[in-house]
Symmetry: C2
Subunit: 438 residues, 2 copies
């Protein structure tokens, strides 16, 4: 049987999972690829560090050159996190004639144009299924399976850590801090969870998907984003009372005025598939003009789901499918025309608003008349009686709007915040409509 | 830009959709394939018949030879339904040097080995994403994206007609006949819906998936199957009372004893993703040992979702990905070892049982002691008071079992049916457990 020699650079959690699939289950890759993927080298920084896989003698090395100089090695899984040395290693691998598979979405979101240009110039390819949504093969589905479609929208839960936290806040009425501590204890969140909870990770993934689906060559940092780190459990409770759940939604939709892109906590009606995504799962809803609405749900991270995606890419690269995809899609090439991204404030939609108001006559009239002046129509309202022992005379006023004209909701909220019967700043979140096929 | 000339044979609903995607949206296929797909010919039986698409002059023909003899045409979408002349046309296309894309699952389920062998011998390829679950790209996902996995199970709603009928029976308390009439009025069911409602269509699709996922070279007709045509709305009501829904589930699971395969109405706990699939949608839950559980939901049939899958296959074939997949997977080749299919009665699992019993003392003891003798443990029981005006003194006794030893549930039910306190035959259905990752 034909044999393709492969290597791994970076033997952390995912790298160890990839090594195990290649070493323990070579029969499978042989069966599905029609050839053996032979793990020749695994490059690590520190040879002494204990690892989650058993490697035969001669595979482990701390010398990248043993891969670069070995022209028999054709495919390399580059599994170093962060930007450097990941970027430099990736360039060296490409320059030494290797096709590269990676799970590093930050690297692609930051240096995609440079890396893809270089790979193209060298006649090499980069595969990156594992970079977005882990085990859900959304890259292949969007770039290959839906290629007859104009994609209208992609809405997803792309960060499992955030979803775990908001799910626990919602279902168990935990505070943000309690849910984060649990996520860390279970290994779903890093010691420093900033990139997960502030929306950075989801925005980087969304930038990659938006590029694939809409040819939008945008920087992830341009995507308006809001994390879950400032989420108040009060809003989870009100959302629940209204029949909604709050999820961190990465949103991309092609509208007449341009491309809507955002990452933000969003209210979704309970029972809708995205609303029911629990724990650390990911899920993605895609609407295409021919295929209609398609929904994917699965493990978005973790050792083996991510390794599954990496090894599938290694097989695709070894058999020659990935190079074809890379060549035909011309990702991050100059072929793409720039797409205009709509500013966050201009995204049309329904809104959830919460104000702290003083419990006195005329408050409701003042608030609602400002909304009316801005043509923001009210769909539902909640104001509970003040707590018996509340000393501050403040109550929560929650308003769900109908679809509002662009920018109007934002201007109305600013005006309401200036009222002397309103305390502090308001909370405003988008409300997601069910995905609709055309 | 490079150009690949293509043709369509059969211009019915799906064929017209394919023609529209190719003619009206050539920019897309060009963008995603890096080349133009040029529709050169569309072969029909009757030139005079009105069609759902506008074709430029010179494309429509009733002469298959205009495709066979034109060596510029490389890829042909063969969209004739049924077995003949579909099989003969497919062989002629392959023999004249064309790669073929098809949506005809009956043809593949019946003649897969012959067609794939011939294609291999001729160095041609067959792509068939549209043959299973329409717009859901389950063929690509199972055969390409999950290739690093041992797949443990596939459970799906693969027939939209049946799902529409059972959903309407469940949600609107319609009778089977009412729901079928509505499905026909909406175009979801054929005038003769037999293949859809008796489980044949789902079994043919399951045979294809089982072949891809488990290398099981089996005939679809060997799969134990039961349709929804004998489903009684009484059971929908009891299921609902128990917190379950009834769906027509195509089930494949690799167990220690062999491959479990079946198509049958099955109880699924409400809230589980497969239980919540409404109207004519399809959905599939796949569990792989690395990727965990992945769930897909989308349009399983219909003109444009199916055309979306056909055109994606035409692009894959034109760019060269599909030929690689076809070559490496060696589908329906002699490489596959036969897999032992477990007989229906031996499938382990939980069961729903309904008996009509006479409302007299000692009945419950007789029924439950037979179950106990067969080591079938009872999870829950429902027996309502008899209707006031019921003249026959019969009541419904519904029992949900815990997991039962193989065959025991079946033997116990036979014994219970012989009791003189029991009238007629019992209803027995499987109860699905939530998919579990290892």
């Amino acid at each position: 049987m034909e044999k393709t020699k492969v290597a791994i650079v970076g033997l952390g959690t995912v790298g160890s999972g990839v090594a195990r699939l290649l070493l323990d289950h070579g029969d499978r890759t042989a069966r599905h690829a029609g050839r053996a993927l032979w793990l020749e080298k695994a490059v690590v920084r520190d040879l002494a560090r204990p690892r989650d896989c058993d490697l035969p003698d001669g595979i482990l090395t701390d010398q990248l050159d043993e891969v670069l100089d070995n022209s028999d090695i054709k495919v390399v899984a580059q599994l170093i996190g962060g930007l450097e040395p990941a970027r430099t290693v990736m360039l060296k691998l490409l320059e030494s004639g290797k096709d590269v598979v990676t799970a590093n979405k930050a690297l692609l979101a930051e240096h995609g144009p440079e890396l893809f240009d270089r790979a193209r110039g060298l006649g090499r390819c980069i595969a990156f299924e594992a970079a977005v949504a882990g085990g859900i093969p959304i890259i292949t589905n969007v770039s290959q399976c839906f290629s007859a479609n104009q994609i209208h929208s992609i809405q997803g839960i792309l960060n499992g850590t955030s979803n775990f936290i908001v799910s626990q806040m919602d279902e168990l009425s935990w505070s943000y801090d309690e849910a984060l501590a649990a996520a860390q204890a279970l290994g779903y969140a890093e010691a420093d969870p900033t990139m997960d909870v502030d929306g950075t990770d989801a925005a980087q993934k969304l930038a990659i998907l938006a590029h694939l689906a809409f040819g939008a060559r945008i920087r992830w940092s341009e995507i308006p984003r809001q994390g879950i780190d400032s989420l108040d459990s009060t809003d989870m409770q009100f959302a629940s009372e209204l029949g909604y759940r709050i999820k961190l939604i990465a949103h991309a939709r092609l509208a007449a005025a341009g491309l809507e892109l955002s990452v933000a906590p969003t209210l979704i009606r309970a029972g809708q598939p995205l609303a029911e995504v629990r724990r650390n799962y990911n899920a993605i809803s895609v609407v295409g003009d021919a295929v209609g609405d398609i929904f994917f749900h699965g493990q978005g991270a973790g050792q083996m789901p991510t390794a599954s995606a990496v090894v599938a890419d290694m097989i695709d690269t070894a058999v020659g499918r990935a190079p074809i995809t890379f060549r035909t899609l011309e990702l991050w090439s100059s072929r793409e025309s720039p797409v205009q991204i709509l500013p966050d404030k201009d995204l049309p939609g329904r809104y959830y608003m919460r104000f702290q108001v003083y419990d006195k006559p005329g408050v409701m009239a003042k608030v609602t008349s400002i909304l009316g002046d801005h043509h923001v129509s009210i769909a539902s309202i909640i104001q509970h009686e003040p707590e018996l022992d509340a000393g501050d005379n403040l109550v929560q006023l929650v308003i769900m709007t109908h679809e509002a004209p662009e920018g109007a909701a934002s201007r109305a909220v600013s005006k309401i915040e200036q009222l002397d019967v309103v305390s502090g700043t308001a909370v405003r979140m988008r409300v997601m409509e069910a995905p609709r096929s055309k």
